[in-house]
């Protein structure tokens, strides 16, 4: 597969996943507010922090009100990671590889983009209802469903999965972080009903509540973290994502599982074994926030490794021609 095409498929997939997760962020925050007794004032600012774009937000908006934050994260084209920017990106990437993906994927993504664009351009964009964000989630599900049922399990599909899984691991970690930020100033809630409500909102935001219940029954922060971080079977759990990404990486290169031949595989393998052998107690005692911070840096390093290994144009002389 052409390096440029692989790169575009990878980013197309990452951007759709990013848009979906932004919708989940906004959604979970809306739910959290409903559960907080003392109003919403300080709830939206941490969300901007979680995305790591505080300075940029402050430049564009005066106050971190719900309307402003949702507008910024969802509909603001000036912010390069807003839902609409992600979808524009995904669509441009898809356009440049239209011949390499199924045409239904392109058509759906095209419609998906127009759906968000229409919402962004209407007089009062939907900044206080879940409906729009549900729609974004469903459109993203549909996109993945079309890819899964129309693409051969070749390089293209694996690059799409790789991008999706890395993005998802990063974003699930950030959703856990939202909870961390919200709770930080309110330690007195820990263990209360409100705490329970909030953790279930977090689980719901990644569609994990039902699967969690099947496994653990009662809600405890400990177990929620364990489930979202270390579960191998739940598709939005971080360990699951890393395992899937590692599988796709090896499927692309043909390297024997459990070994590595390039920097991307090495870094991925290191992270995979770390997650496989760490306990949730270790994570919490060393600090969840620090652990997540570290994890995000490792995921970034893996992304860089993938770029260096498969995408960057290598000097002609060093390569033997392959037929």
């Amino acid at each position: 597969m052409l390096s440029r095409v692989a790169d575009s498929i990878y980013w197309m997939s990452r951007c759709v996943e990013r848009a979906e997760n932004l919708a989940r962020f906004v959604d979970v925050t809306m739910h959290l507010i409903l559960d907080l007794p003392d109003g919403a004032a300080e709830t939206w600012k941490p969300l901007v922090d979680t995305t790591g774009e505080r300075a940029f937000f402050d430049e564009l908006y005066e106050e971190a009100t719900q309307e402003n934050v949702v507008r910024f994260l969802s509909f603001d084209s000036r912010y390069p990671n807003s839902i609409i920017s992600c979808l524009r990106n995904a669509r441009e990437n898809a356009r440049s590889v239209r011949e390499a993906i199924a045409s239904e994927m392109w058509e759906h993504l095209n419609q998906f983009y127009f759906m968000v664009k229409d919402a962004a351009e209407c007089e009062s964009p939907p900044t206080n209802s879940s409906d729009f964000f549900d729609e974004v989630k469903m459109a993203s599900h549909l996109f993945k469903g079309i890819a899964d049922s129309s693409m051969s399990r070749g390089e293209g599909w694996h690059f799409a999965r790789l991008g999706r899984m890395i993005e998802r691991a990063d974003k699930t970690s950030r959703i856990l972080d939202v909870k961390y930020y919200v709770l930080l100033p309110r330690l007195q809630y820990v263990g209360s009903t409100i705490d329970d409500l909030q953790w279930s909102a977090v689980l719901r935001s990644v569609s994990a509540l039902e699967m969690y219940r099947k496994q653990f029954h009662g809600l405890s922060p400990h177990r929620v973290v364990e489930f979202l971080l270390l579960d191998r079977e739940f598709p939005r759990a971080i360990q699951h994502c890393v395992i899937a990404a590692d599988e796709s990486l090896h499927a692309i290169s043909g390297t024997v599982p459990g070994s590595y031949r390039n920097i991307a595989e090495q870094r991925m393998g290191q992270l995979r074994s770390e997650l496989a052998y760490i306990s949730v107690d270790d994570v919490i005692s060393s600090g969840l926030h620090e652990f997540i911070d570290n994890l995000q840096m490792k995921l970034n390093a893996i992304g860089d490794g993938i770029f260096d290994t498969f995408i960057t144009m290598r000097p002609v002389e060093s390569q033997a021609a392959q037929q």
Binding site: R98, N110, V316, Q323
Partner: protein
């Protein structure tokens, strides 16, 4: 919205109409279509038309409007009433196009080699000397299988005398064939019943024929040579077509930056290393394909590509240098070429053309500027043109000066009255002017796709069919002989 649109009150208004004769009766080959449309439920036609427009937007079959921010993508308007061509007329068009492309191919080969046509006094030498699209870099080149113009889209028009003429040969990178295929697909989806009964010759096999044409050129004798489509990228207005054709053929769509020359061969960069490329269907103009040989500032092409081509290690379709035959003055000599190379009379005539280089022609042109269309030799898309009857006195004076200064660079033609096809306008049909671009593939044999792109000038009375200037498109139906066995 539920108005009934029918042909009951349709008027041809003294124009040649492709579906109706002068007394407003349907032509034989269009009878069934007219009857079917007349018997649709009220509102049905409009509903289908809107469904098609929505589908075009959904499929992203759009072109970018330059000079606007993102979001200003437009669909190219499509009108649901097809143009219908009878089998006998098509037979003549088909043999005419085959004849023409054969002669043009021989001409291109000749002028990059011995230039016999000049030596024998058929084509004036000075014409060649000043031909802007003549590529010195191509002199002495022998492209694979001796074919220069593999893919051609010839523009045909019908004047009010009922005669079909060749308006332009597009021998470089003619676009539009993807619309032919998509229009057909949409029509079949919208009107399966009408379609089934109409015995329309299929166009669906174009991509596989194109692939066969390209594979035929491969420099090495292997079963699956690597064919690629070379595009300037997503900002090119024809990008949709490039990716569509690559997808339909199942080949890679590449940009210049994906390709690299090494040891006299061409490779593409893949995730598992470099892979040799055998054939390029290039949708980039000569000037941009190789900065070492043509324009140095081109970032779209591949440095060293022409060297690989000269060594015979890669095939290019179309070959570089074919643009010389698109020169509008050289066009005027195609009938002579047909006689010279094939010893035949031309089947589809040129639009009568005055070559300003000839003294008599020039005199006539200058005296009749208010009746004629003047065209510069190497412009296209409606640029560098004077439409005499609509031009101001000043513009005519300016063109007269230009012609006197550089007569070699100008031709003139009578103003044609293009034929029309009924088109939906609001709640009724009106005639709108059309042209026709059939597509010709020159590989092991010459193949003419039955049908082609019918472009329609949607503005009342307008003769400009270009997409950038209010043009749209229609499906083109070549209706099979009653005895002919065909499948759609």
């Amino acid at each position: 919205m539920s108005e009934k649109i029918s042909f009951e009150h349709y008027e041809t208004e003294q124009f040649h109409d492709e579906l109706f004769d002068d007394s407003c009766n349907p032509r034989h080959e269009a009878e069934l279509l007219v009857w079917k449309i007349n018997s649709l439920e009220p509102g049905e036609l409009q509903r289908r038309q809107q469904a098609i427009e929505r589908a075009l937007l959904r499929m992203g079959i759009t072109f970018n409007v330059y000079g606007h921010d993102d979001g200003t993508e437009r669909i190219w308007p499509f009108d649901i009433v097809p143009r219908v061509v009878g089998a006998d007329e098509w037979d003549r068009i088909e043999s005419g196009l085959k004849q023409r492309i054969q002669a043009l191919n021989m001409f291109i080969h000749d002028i990059y080699h011995d230039q016999e046509i000049v030596k024998d006094g058929i084509l004036p030498e000075e014409l060649l000397e000043d031909a802007k699209a003549f590529r010195d870099q191509c002199v002495g080149l022998s492209p694979p299988r001796g074919i220069w113009c593999h893919i051609t889209g010839t523009d045909l028009v019908r004047n009010d005398d009922g005669q079909i003429y060749v308006l332009e040969d597009n021998l470089r990178c003619p676009s539009g064939v993807s619309y032919v295929l998509q229009n057909r697909m949409l029509m079949k989806r919208s009107f399966p019943q009408i379609f089934e009964a109409s015995r329309v010759r299929p166009v669906v096999d174009y991509p596989s024929r194109l692939l066969r044409t390209l594979e035929y050129l491969a420099p090495r004798d292997i079963r699956n040579p690597t064919v690629v489509v070379l595009t300037p990228g997503i900002y090119n207005s024809a990008y949709y077509e490039h990716s569509f054709l690559a997808q339909q053929m199942g080949v890679q769509l590449v940009e210049g930056r994906d390709l690299v020359v090494k040891d006299g061969f061409l490779f593409m960069r893949t995730t598992s290393g470099f892979e040799r490329v055998d054939v390029i269907y290039r949708r980039i103009d000569d000037d941009f394909i190789d900065p070492h040989v043509f324009r140095e500032d081109s970032a779209l092409g591949v440095p060293g590509l022409m060297d690989v081509y000269r060594r015979g290690h890669v095939a290019l379709a179309n070959a570089p240098g074919t643009g010389v035959a698109d020169d509008k003055v050289i066009y005027a000599y195609v009938p002579q070429m047909v006689r010279y190379y094939l010893d035949e009379e031309i089947i589809i005539p040129n639009v009568p053309t005055y070559v300003c280089l000839n003294q008599d022609d020039r005199k006539y042109v200058l005296e009749h500027l208010d009746e004629l269309v003047v065209k510069a030799a190497n412009e296209s898309g409606g640029y560098g043109m004077l439409i005499g009857p609509h031009a101001s006195e000043e513009d005519r004076r300016k063109f007269a000066e230009l012609i006197e200064e550089n007569p070699r660079n100008y031709i003139a033609q009578p103003t044609l009255s293009l034929s029309r096809v009924p088109t939906i306008v609001g709640d009724h049909f009106e005639g709108r002017h059309v042209d026709l671009r059939p597509y010709i593939l020159y590989g092991e044999e010459i193949f003419v796709l039955p049908g082609g792109l019918t472009r329609v000038a949607l503005k009342k009375g307008s003769l400009v069919v270009n997409s950038s200037q209010g043009g749209g498109s229609k499906d083109t139906w070549v209706v099979a002989h009653p005895t002919e066995n065909q499948t759609t």
